[in-house]
Amino acid sequence: MKAFILKFTLFVAIVSLLTACGSGDDNATGSENQGGDDVSISLMHYYNKELGEPAPTAQLEKLDEFAANNPDVTINQEIQSHDNYETKVKTLAAGDELPDVFLIKGSMTQQFLENEQVMNLDEFLNENDGWQDQFIDGTLTPFQVDGSAYGVPISGGATHIVYYNQAIFDEVGIEAFPATWDEFLAAIDTLNENDVTPIALGNKGKWVLNSSYLSTLGNRYTGDEWFDNILANNGEAAFTDQPFIDALSAINQLADRDAFNENMNSIDNSEQQALYMNGKAAMFIEGDWAAGSISSNAPEEVLENTHVAIFPAIDDAGGNQNTVSGGGGWAYAINADVTGEKLEAIKDMIYHLTNEEAGKLILEKGQMPAIKVSGTEDMELGRLTREILELLEDNKYVPIYDTILEPALIEEMNNNMQVMVIGQVTPEKAAENIQKVYSK
C-alpha cells in the first residue's frame, strides 16, 4: 500500500508538471496578433449551408460578402450543428477556450457575464448612428443584464403563431378566425363535433407548450411588470399569483375540451406539422419558423388555405391583448479578451451581419429579422412570410419564457405542463411546483 501511495503522489506530480507546461504554451499563443495588418478572427456558429434554413443561409452569404470586401481579415469558422452548438459552447466556456466571436442564447447571458467571458456592447451599439434603436422592441432584451447589452440579435421572430386551414373552417361553418377567446373555445367544440382535431400538438420535446403557448398566454394574463419582477426576484411576483394560474388554466381549458390530439405527449413538433399538413387537424401553433416547412412540404390544397393568426383577445385577462411572445433567439457575443485591431474588425463584421441590409436578406429568405426593415411593400416575399410580417406589425413582442429563465426552472415548467394537459396535476398544483423551484 505504501508503494502505491508513493506512485500515486508521483503521478499527480507529473500531471501537474505537464499542466504547468501546457498553460505556459497558451500564454505564448495568446499574445499573437498584435501589430501587423492581417487580422484573423475565430468564429463559432451553427449555420449549415446545405440545410437551406433562412436566417443561417442569409448569415453565410453576408459572411462571404464581408470576407470578400475585407481581404486582410481571415475568418476561421468552426461549424457545429445546432443541437451540438449549445453543448460545445458551454464546454468551451467551462474551459475558458471560447472563440473571438460566438453565438449566445438569452438564457446564457447572465452566466457568461458572471464568468467575465462576454464583452459589454453598449458603446458598440451606439457607434453606428441610431443602430441600437433600429432593433425591434424586445429583441435586445434577452441579451441585456442591468440595462447593458451583451449580444447582437440576428433573427427575432415570434414563437407563437396559429396556423389554420381556412378550408376546414369553411367546411364546419366557421367563417373567420375567432375574434374572442370564447369564440375560439366555441370553434374548438364545433371542430370536435365534426370529427376534426382542432389543434395538432406535439409536445414530446416539452418546449412547444412553453414557447408557443404559455409565453404569450402568460403575458396576456399577468402583464409586463409581473415578469420583470420575476426576473428581478424582488419578492413582488410569484408563480402562484392568480394571473399566472389563470394562464395555465387557459391551456388546461383547451386540453379539457379535447382541443388536442390524444398522442400529444408522444409526438414532436415536426409531427404536429405533419398532422396539419395531412389535413387531419384544423390548426397548429408554433413559431414563425414553421412557415418555411409548411411552404416547402405541405400539399398544394393545404398550403393555399393556410393562414396565420394569434390567440384572440381574452376578456377577463389583465395584461395587454395585442402581444405575441418573440424576440431574439441567438445573438452574436464578443469574447471579453479581444482588443485592438481585432476588435475593430469584429465590430465591422458583426455590423455587416446584423444591419438593415442583412435583415432584408433574412426576410427575403423567409424569416423575421431582429432589425426593422423599411420598404417591405416592394420586396418579393413568400405569401406566408408576408402574412406573418403584417400580423406582427400590429402586435408587440413579449418575452419568451424559456429563452430567458433559468434552465432548472424551465425544466420544471415544461414537465408540469406536460402532465397538466393529461389531467395529472391541476393548474394550481403546477403553479405551486414551479414556485417551489423558483424560490429555491
Partner: protein, 276 residues
C-alpha cells in the same frame, strides 16, 4: 421441442417471428426511408417511397461530409480496439495469474471505471486535455476511448482466464515458452470467444461514441461519423431521408463486424458472464 403439439409450435413460431420482425423492422424502415423525398417522409413516415431517390446518398455524403469522417471513425475505432484488447489482455492475465501486493487494488481501480458516467467527466477531461495540449490531435480520441474501454474488457478477460487451468501455463513453460509466448500463443487462442465479444463491445462503443468526439475535437478534418450525422439537424428542421441514408452508410461496418464474429459472440457471452 418434441413435447409441443403442432398448434403449440405454430404459436411459438408466430411469437418468435413477431419478435424478430420488431428487431429487424427499424433497420428495414431506415433503408427504404432513405430513398424517399423529404415531402413524402413528412406526410407519411411509414409508406414506401414512390420514386427511389438515390441522390439522397450522394447528398448525404456531401452534407454530412461522410467521406472524410468515415476514414477518421475507422482509424480511431480500430486503433482503440487494438490497444484495448492488447492492454486489456496483458493486464487481465497478470491480475488473474499472479499474486503480488496491490493486485486487488489495481483490479478494483479498473472496476471503478465502469461506475463513472462519461458525461460527468466531459468538462474535467476537456480542461485537462487543454492544459496538457492534447486537444485536436489525430490521436486525441483514442486516449479516452481506450481508458473507458478497458474496465469491461479486463472484467471479461480476467474471469475467463481464471477458468483456464493453470496446468496449461505450466506445461507451456516446461516446454520452454516465455511469459510473452504463454500469453499470446497459448492463452490468447483459448480465449478467442471472449475476445470476439470484447472486440465487438469495444468497437461499438468507439464507433458510436459522441460526447468526447464533439468536445475534444475542433478541427473539422478530424471529426468522426456520429458528429457528422448531426449535420442533418437544423435549428427547426431535420432532413430525415438524408439522415437515414447517412445512417445506412454508418451501420454498414457494424453489421460486417457483427457478421464476422457472431458465432464466437454467442459462446463468449456465456463464457465471460459466469464465474468459476
Amino acid at each position: 421441442m418434441k413435447w409441443l403439439t403442432p398448434l403449440g409450435k405454430t404459436i411459438v413460431n408466430i411469437l418468435l417471428l413477431m419478435f424478430s420482425l420488431s428487431a429487424v423492422f427499424p433497420i428495414i424502415w431506415m433503408l427504404y426511408s432513405s430513398f424517399k423525398t423529404q415531402k413524402e417522409f413528412t406526410l407519411n413516415t411509414i409508406s414506401l417511397p414512390e420514386t427511389w431517390q438515390f441522390s439522397n446518398y450522394i447528398e448525404a455524403i456531401q452534407v454530412g461530409k461522410l467521406h472524410e469522417y468515415f476514414f477518421n471513425s475507422v482509424y480511431i475505432s480500430l486503433s482503440s480496439v487494438f490497444l484495448i484488447i492488447l492492454l486489456g489482455f496483458i493486464i487481465a492475465y497478470m491480475i488473474a495469474r499472479f499474486s503480488f501486493p496491490g493486485r486487488k487494488v489495481i483490479y478494483i481501480l479498473f472496476m471503478f471505471g465502469m461506475l463513472i458516467p462519461i458525461h460527468g467527466l466531459l468538462v474535467p477531461i476537456f480542461i485537462e486535455f487543454k492544459n496538457v495540449g492534447l486537444l485536436n490531435k489525430p490521436y486525441t480520441l483514442i486516449l479516452p476511448y481506450v481508458a473507458f474501454g478497458l474496465p469491461i474488457v479486463i472484467f471479461l478477460f480476467e474471469s475467463f482466464i481464471k477458468q483456464i487451468p493453470k496446468e496449461i501455463d505450466e506445461a507451456a513453460i516446461m516446454d520452454g515458452c516465455t511469459t510473452f509466448q504463454v500469453i499470446f500463443k497459448i492463452i490468447f487462442p483459448i480465449a478467442s470467444p471472449v475476445i470476439a465479444t470484447a472486440v465487438i463491445l469495444s468497437f461499438l462503443t468507439a464507433w458510436n461514441e459522441f460526447p468526447f468526439a464533439l468536445v475534444l475535437i475542433q478541427d473539422e478534418a478530424l471529426r468522426t461519423l456520429p458528429v457528422g450525422l448531426t449535420n442533418f439537424n437544423g435549428q427547426y428542421t431535420v432532413n430525415y431521408p438524408q439522415m437515414m441514408a447517412a445512417m445506412s452508410i454508418t451501420v454498414l461496418p457494424v453489421l460486417l463486424i457483427y457478421l464476422a464474429f457472431y458465432k464466437k459472440i454467442i459462446q463468449g457471452m456465456t463464457a465471460g458472464s459466469v464465474k468459476g
